[in-house]
Symmetry: C2
Subunit: 149 residues, 2 copies
DNA sequence: AGTTGTAATGAGACTGGTTCTCATTCTATC
DNA sequence: GATAGAATGAGAACCAGTCTCATTACAACT
């Protein structure tokens, strides 16, 4: 998932958002954000430390918690029990996921505008019955990816 | 979530489905199925062994795997990292979930028929772009429940 | 009823992903 | 450059979940 912010401005946006919470945009955190920004699909923790051997495990876990807490990244529960991570939608764009139950991978799919209008209406309908206050929604499709048929 | 099968027939349906895979519908498995059938919301493992102290932990985990494998129950990834379990949709009815990020609870919501027609159309649209073969979908709303506002 | 093969059970050991600890090192601000 | 709070990293600790293995229950046959 590409960012829709111009390449140069992503770092600035992240730094700003961290500053707001008295947090620093340090080397390790930058490495993780850059990695997620350039990844074609949501990334598992294992993939992450493999491709970023400079970042120690204990620190990487902490960075993920900090970045998630600051709303910079989002955690996705995949079908294999291992979470995946991606930039949050304020830094990319709203989209949905295809979850493969064979290999565990997660794929991004961006719906059309009319699609999203319909979804928003449906979410409102669901929530009304319950006094629930919605923050976000996710329409996940579970099945088998092209590689795993 | 109530079952739509008449009370008496649920056990028969489950037994049949297990038999098909040369599995037995034993005491412990029955306890878990009954518990899920009478529960108002998806149940975490902790809740489960608390309310079923007769079922040992190691057996309970195994029962859940067997029942999930046989398509009798479904595992839901909640926002707190702990899975929840419910009867699968062949035994209840298709529905969606409201996930509270404050308390971690999961609520069932049953959409209207027209709602589901629309959703099905949208899922087909998403999947086409990817050569992905869909098995099921889930439209989850993340936010705060009435208790946690 | 007895035999046999396979499924199921349960206590406890074990695993490995994740979190915690703590001593040390940065970094923003005064 | 002094100070305080944030960040770091190695390793210990934790604990949900899995595995092992000896035992028991069950179904299908003779
Ligand atoms: Mn995504
Ligand atoms: Mn449900
Ligand atoms: Zn796959
Ligand atoms: Zn709540």
């Amino acid at each position: 998932m590409r960012t829709h912010a111009a390449d140069g401005s992503l770092d600035e946006l992240v730094e700003l958002q961290l500053r707001r919470a008295d947090l620093r945009y340090t080397e390790g955190r930058r490495r993780i954000v850059d990695m997620l920004a350039s990844s074609e699909h949501p990334v598992s923790f294992a993939e992450m430390i493999t491709s970023l051997p400079q970042v120690p495990k204990s620190s990487a876990y902490r960075h993920l918690m900090v970045l998630e807490g600051a709303g910079i990244i989002r955690r996705i529960a995949a079908t294999d029990g291992f979470a995946r991570f991606e930039l949050s939608e304020v830094l990319t764009e709203h989209h949905h996921h295809l979850l493969c139950t064979s290999c565990g991978r997660v794929f991004d799919v961006t719906p059309s505008a009319s699609f999203e209008r319909t979804t928003a209406r449906m979410v409102a309908e669901l929530v009304d019955q319950f006094g629930f206050s919605p923050v976000s929604h996710s329409l996940d499709v579970v099945g088998h990816c092209a590689d795993c048929q």
